[in-house]
Subunit: 335 residues, 2 copies
DNA sequence: TTGTAGGCGTTATCAT
DNA sequence: ATGATAACGCCTACAA
């Protein structure tokens, strides 16, 4: 690909002048300007972003770390980030961490090597002190899924405990007393938080939740099926199912329907996240809203504002917490 | 962030020696090596990828152009690409084109500015001659969703005409004669191709498909609902619905169920793509498989092989065409 | 084995 | 208004 020198030569000027018309920051005589523009077009010249980054010490790039691109939840997140980044003329660099601490760290390091100025990271596996260290090192570092007191102003997070409560409160209010919970077998803290919320709510309502009423599966359709089938095999009876996410909930719907149980007449089901899927499936899923799109937008703006030169100093010292709320649809009803 | 000079100074060596342990291409004395490694760790030094790109003239980066990240189909595609790229130690740069020719071109140009060595692009809007031009300019350029004769070896594509036929043939084989089609209102060629396939099949089966039996909506759940409702309002009767994609099909299921029609007893429905959703919804969707994951892998390997220095010259001259096949589930049955 | 020097493509600072 | 020149951070001959 042509360089700025090639353009300069073809236009009969110095590289400096070409650079001036590129940045249009200094006045260039109209005639030479058009001559240069013609040369640029003719050579199909595209300024080398790396050279620019090197000299300008700025890449206009925001890095994103998520566990997997194929998951609708993360796809939505990435999409929202890209949307606001684009408006600010920022490039997006996506790296995946796959729920593995080592891979997450590798992803972040690679983003650092690319000199991303801002970073929005969803870390499921890294230890808090590692994340704190990272945040202190990287000016535009923002965490999107957890709260860490020491770096609270860099945290955009969701109250998972409240989310668990919302689910359980609702089922209790519908009169359910035989409740089972489907959690994820992945060791991620948000599952623990939701479970804690559920436990708190249930004990307040004097509803028992024995350990055998909790099953663990992969956080997807198949995992939902297997987990609920496992519970049934154990001879456990129930009228309500609380699921770790919407995908598992659809698996439950499918498995129970296959067994001739009717939803919500025989069994009530609540999902989590409210991904697109929840509206699509039948019956439509009653679920807990996780406003990931709004959160992703917020996180991106926060990350970008952290590195802005004209950073308003009135950066409030608080964290950015988002609360769950119930989306009532068709999969849950009175007991 | 620390530079190679900082590391060199701290370790008491020259930058060149540091570079040597970084690339581990030349033997360095064990003592100095450990000293340097200590310095690197202490300074948390991360080699600047831009400087490297500049001098090495290689970025190890593959660019991806898709219309939108949030769409499950494209998320799957991006995910597959990232997967094989990662194995080859390539960074992935995603840009979105949003079905707009101008934006698609901007996305590609930005990828060029980043000096992506390979590119996998899904272009819905750019004219063929523009794409041909791009392919000739960019060595690692691969098209993933369409066939263009002049650059056939750079095309990984899906036979949409055959896809249309598959849907229609199946419905005909089930005895349906009153068929309606839900297409997308976006002006994309794949919709046209599928429609052509449907028309061919239907005329072979002597089934009539008047223009009023074709409705156009946005290619999603809401669009499916609206399109089918529109048809019903027109007083059109039917026993089978062919949909542009799975999301529209779920909209149709929902709308018809609301009206008390039973699927597949009263109406048969076929979707397209076989995204995850198709397995999840109720009834499970009978649909046409679009093997985007396999195709994306192939496209990535192709793009990477195109720029490989040890490129095997036995690059076959043919294109890479993928064929649809029917995934029979529950949403379609005998008339 | 290690150091020196030049250059990758661009921008910014001086001159002119 | 335009041209030299140095510098960004790194790698790679070439020397020592």
């Amino acid at each position: 690909m042509a360089t700025i020198k090639d353009v300069a030569k073809l236009a009969g000027v110095s590289p400096a002048t070409v650079s001036r018309v590129l940045s249009s920051t200094v006045v260039v005589s109209p005639k030479t300007k058009t001559r240069i523009e013609k040369a640029i077009a003719e050579l199909d010249f595209r300024p080398n972003a790396h050279a620019r980054a090197l000299v300008s010490k700025s890449t206009h790039t925001i890095g994103v770390v998520i566990s997997q691109l194929a998951d609708p939840f993360f796809a939505q997140m990435a999409s929202s980030i890209e949307d606001v980044a684009k408006k600010r003329k920022f490039q997006v660099l996506v790296s995946t961490g796959s729920l593995d601490a080592q891979k997450e760290l590798t992803a972040i390091k690679s983003l650092q090597a690319q000199r991303c100025e801002a970073m929005v990271v969803n870390s499921k596996a890294l230890a808090d002190d590692v994340l704190i260290d990272l945040a202190q090192r990287i000016p535009g570092f923002v965490l999107i899924n957890k709260f860490i007191p020491q770096i609270s102003q860099r945290c955009v997070w969701f109250d998972n405990v409240a989310g668990g409560k919302v689910m359980a409160d609702y089922m209790a209010s519908l009169g359910h007393a035989n409740i089972v919970v489907l959690s994820t077998k992945e060791r991620v803290y948000d599952a623990t938080h939701r479970l804690n919320g559920i436990r708190q709510s249930l004990s307040q309502h004097n509803i028992n939740l024995p350990d055998q009423h909790i099953a663990y599966g992969s956080p997807d359709y198949a995992g939902g099926r297997e987990a609920i089938e496992h519970l049934i095999e154990q001879g456990i009876t129930f009228t309500a199912v609380l699921c770790y996410n919407d995908a598992m909930a659809t698996g439950v719907i499918s498995a129970l329907t296959d067994l001739g149980r009717r939803i919500p007449d025989d069994v009530s089901i609540v999902g989590f996240d409210d991904v697109l899927l929840a509206k699509y499936c039948m019956p439509k899923l009653t679920t807990v809203k996780y406003p990931i799109d709004i959160m992703a937008r917020k996180a991106t703006e926060l990350a970008l504002s952290l590195i802005a030169k004209d950073r308003p100093l009135n950066q409030s010292d608080k964290d950015y917490q988002y609360k769950p709320f119930l989306v009532k649809r068709e999969s849950a009803a009175k007991c």
